[in-house]
Amino acid sequence: MTFLTTGLGAHIRSASIHGKVRGGEHSARSVLFLIALWLCLFVAFGVLLTLIITTLIDGFSRLDSRLVTEYPASAPERAGLRPAILGSIWVIGATALLTIPLGVAAAVHLEEFADRKKWFNRAIELNVQNLAAVPSIVYGLLALGFLALLGVQNKNIVIGGALALGLLVLPVIIISTREALRGVPLEIRQGSLALGATPLQTVWRQTLPASVPGIATGAILGLSRALGEAAPLLVLGALVFVSFDPNGLLSGYTTMPIQIFNWTSRPQAEFHELASAGSILLLLILLAMNGLAIFIRNRYQQRW
């Protein structure tokens, strides 16, 4: 609790210049208000910290090499995440290949070429904003319906999962790419066009390369969301017993969050430990991805 009191003290000191007229910074209401704000932050971070700590405590005993080398098994002490990890890599890899080119292309069109005065282009923008907030499970239903339409019998295939997750991540990629493109000064585009470069050459050789750090950051954040996502894959039947390494786009698979969910729903406590251990691993991977994204943003972002 020490940080609470020091924070309060520092604030009151810094506020003294505001004068002590009616209801000054020291008034009981003001202090209570600030305490309430601190409490909000404290509770939110406290719960999240508890989440991380309890997960660590529960899962620590199973955080060993078997977790990554073993296949799922009916006996918890022999079970591991190996196919789920490989499945996640396959699905996220395919998602990236599917969604990044598409998202960047759409963003380039909207930001560089589309005439914003046309209602159609404004409708596309509105639509992208809306797609970003559509519940993930709906993307699962979309992919399910699409695969059914194609007459695909076995829906638990890597490319099906990638389709659902790719559509889920697409708006994130579009929005962050547009933001990155917007960060490139107009002067760069003008300079290029004034030399006789075509608009497309200008995008391809100037604007896009200059936005790569921003695009990469957005893409990594989007893919890390996809990596942690389970609901759409659940709808596509990814909750299956996979005792083989996935080996292609049409291969069956399961992913880390799905396997964790599976273990969560088992009655035995040992499986819950396993689920916690898997969660720790997943959290570490996500933390690394987020860290990478922040690093890229800070290190390579062009300062104009």
Binding site: S30, L51, V108, Q129
Partner: protein, 317 residues
């Protein structure tokens, strides 16, 4: 002779360009690539259309068997029973409970955190807290679900407080979901409050208002549409969240009358029903999509409201 002398300059005949300005090489490649970019952008509309069609077609099948009225207002949800019944109210009440509890947690905590970050935190602290908040927003929802099930429900509710509740409850799921949404609400409303011009704060301070009064009476109202947008988006996320409720809220579809009961939400039903391998074209399969359609329409409504308020806010500042 220099290679850099202009093309037209030396060979210039008055009134006659040495090289015409009219393009002799039509840029087909350029046109084609720009066409592709356009197609990519249009594809986003196709996706929305696809969602609608994918949900509508099986839903229409579904509503051939079950009347819309029975679906929306029926209070018994038992799609797999012999005497099947398709009243969606049990799922809706469970969703309302979990979302309501989540918002009761997320709105005060999120707004409090946002006010603190925007109005009180020193730049240094803010620089640390914002990315931390963003990273926390990226915790997978299965992990939240596991936490709700094992720690909040089992250890705290049943162990510590000895509450009269089973293995699942909408309260545990709702509380944890609320914490999950805090970063969303905090981040968007912090953006809105930070965008309020400093001059408005100075104007208020010049009238002798302290920081709390300035925050509550000046900044908050000025940022209100942005804050509403954040909250509405929070509602949309709560309604659409799947894994936490699938893990911790329970699997029985009953009208929920109290926070310690278990209940199956709309998303929980879809996730669960998808596990049972339902045949394409069967009523069970169509049911998934009917519930999905309802879910999509509800969140769509909230999303548009949210986008509206963000627009209004952007127009002011």
């Amino acid at each position: 002779m220099s290679t850099l002398t202009p093309v037209g300059g030396s060979a210039l005949l008055p009134g006659r360009p040495a090289v015409s300005l009219r393009s002799n090489r039509p840029r087909h490649g350029e046109t084609f690539v720009r066409f592709l970019l356009r197609v990519a952008a249009i594809l986003t509309i196709v996706i929305t259309g696809g969602i609608l069609i994918a949900l509508l077609v099986p839903s229409i099948e579904f509503f051939r068997t079950v009347s819309v009225f029975d679906f929306l207002f029926g209070d018994r949800w038992a799609p797999r029973f012999a005497d099947a019944s398709f009243g969606v109210l049990p799922l809706v009440t469970a969703t309302a409970w979990t979302s309501g509890i989540a918002l009761l947690v997320a709105i005060p905590l999120g707004l409090g955190a946002a006010v603190f970050l925007s109005e009180y935190a020193k730049p240094g602290l803010r620089k640390v807290l914002k990315p931390v908040l963003e990273i926390l927003a990226g915790i997978p929802t299965v992990v939240f679900g596991l936490f709700a099930l094992q720690f909040v429900q089992a250890t705290v509710f049943r162990g510590l407080f000895d509450l009269d509740t089973g293995a699942f409850s909408v309260l545990a799921a709702g509380l944890v979901m609320g914490v999950m949404i805090v970063p969303t609400i905090a981040s968007i409303s912090e953006d809105a409050m930070s965008a309020v011009p400093l001059s408005m704060r100075q104007g208020s301070a010049a009238l002798g208002a302290n920081r709390m009064q300035t925050t509550v009476r000046v900044v908050f109202p000025a940022a209100l549409s942005g804050i509403i947008a954040a909250i509405v988006l929070g509602v949309s996320r709560a309604v659409g969240e799947t894994m936490i409720v699938a893990i911790a809220a329970g699997g029985q579809a009953r009208i929920v009358t109290g926070p310690l009961e278990q209940g199956q939400t709309m998303t929980g039903f879809i996730a669960n029903a998808a596990l049972g391998d339902s045949r394409v074209g069967s009523l069970e399969y169509d049911t998934l999509f009917a519930v999905g359609l309802l879910l999509f329409l509800v969140t769509l409504l909230f999303n548009f409201i949210s986008i509206r308020f963000v627009r209004r806010f952007r127009e002011i500042y």
